[in-house]
Symmetry: C2
Subunit: 195 residues, 2 copies
């Protein structure tokens, strides 16, 4: 009698606050963030099954062959992907699952799961994006400018998402997200008519 | 620079509280309820341009010929319909327009305005619908049972709407409605990307 949980894909420029948004969202409802699988080695402090499912190259290729990934990509000679089974299990339990992934992965998901909800989050301006990336203080000036250039390239793809949320004030962005989820639960395909 | 207003169609069984919902919704935001045109004579207390645009049969047929109606139907030898121009004007001003219309009219609208949002509201149960119709006290027992039979026939058509809202507690139904509208404003087609 559980209503099936939603599959929500969240993308957006690096530094526009997706991580902070997701933390806030999780405080306000029953959302599970999907853990990706990767073939790269764990970095210091990274825990298996928490930050990533760290698996071997053979295991990853096996998953590709078995169509066990909702999306995957290779980056710097390593694979990254979203295992399908866990997502399906959680949704069957009525849990809403959030994937924080890149644009290309998002489009792969939409092809495989028509009912996935694609949300693109944008910063209020390029200057604000630059400010946030500087504030984070984890990247050099050069890397920051590269990230910004890439964000501007990807921005037109936001129009291929279902929703676009401006992340200016965090609280408003979170309320927008929650309104989208509330509305999606009311989509006629998701409502059971039992009389 | 106004964002275009939304066109929202609200349908649902007679007696399930659409009128009360709309009154509540109007208190909480800038919503205009569209006034229908009709060829029937005004009843006592009905005001032209408030309850209906009361127009002649010739004027109505002229509007049909000029494709000036978003939808229309004939009922008991009279025409009823939604004039397109006023709706377009309000939306251009950024106002959200609500149409409270029947199922067939709703589908006509969707054909003409792809971006119309169709919301079907349902009562919690047949017994509750019967109770509400009795409470209203404006119809005979026979009419009430006819209305209920018709509602049950139409209910499967709710699945062809975009959203289904259960009107059990009024406050929740209104919050559902407002969430749908907030989400629809965030649809990528409705968001301007200006950087």
């Amino acid at each position: 009698m559980n209503e099936k949980g939603l599959l929500i894909v969240l993308s957006g420029p690096s530094g526009c606050g997706k991580g902070t948004m997701i933390k806030e969202i999780q405080k306000q409802g029953d959302y599970v963030v999907s853990v990706s699988a990767t073939t790269r080695a764990p970095r210091e402090g990274e825990i298996d099954k928490v930050h990533y499912h760290f698996i071997s190259r053979e295991a990853f290729q096996q998953m590709i062959a078995e169509d066990a990934l909702l999306e995957y990509a290779s980056y710097c000679d390593n694979y990254y992907g979203t295992p399908r089974q866990k997502v399906d299990e959680l949704r069957a339990q009525g849990k809403n699952v959030i994937l924080e992934i890149e644009v290309q992965g998002a489009f792969q998901i939409k092809e495989r799961c028509e009912d996935a909800i694609l949300i693109f989050t944008i910063p209020p301006s390029v200057d604000e994006l630059r400010r946030r990336l500087h504030k984070r203080g984890t990247e050099t000036e050069e890397v920051i400018e590269k990230r910004i250039a890439r964000s501007l390239e990807e921005l037109p793809l936001a129009k291929k998402y279902d929703y676009i949320i401006l992340n200016d004030a965090l609280e408003d962005a979170v309320d927008d997200f929650l309104a989208v989820i509330r509305a999606e639960h009311l989509r006629s395909a998701n409502v059971k008519l039992d009389f």
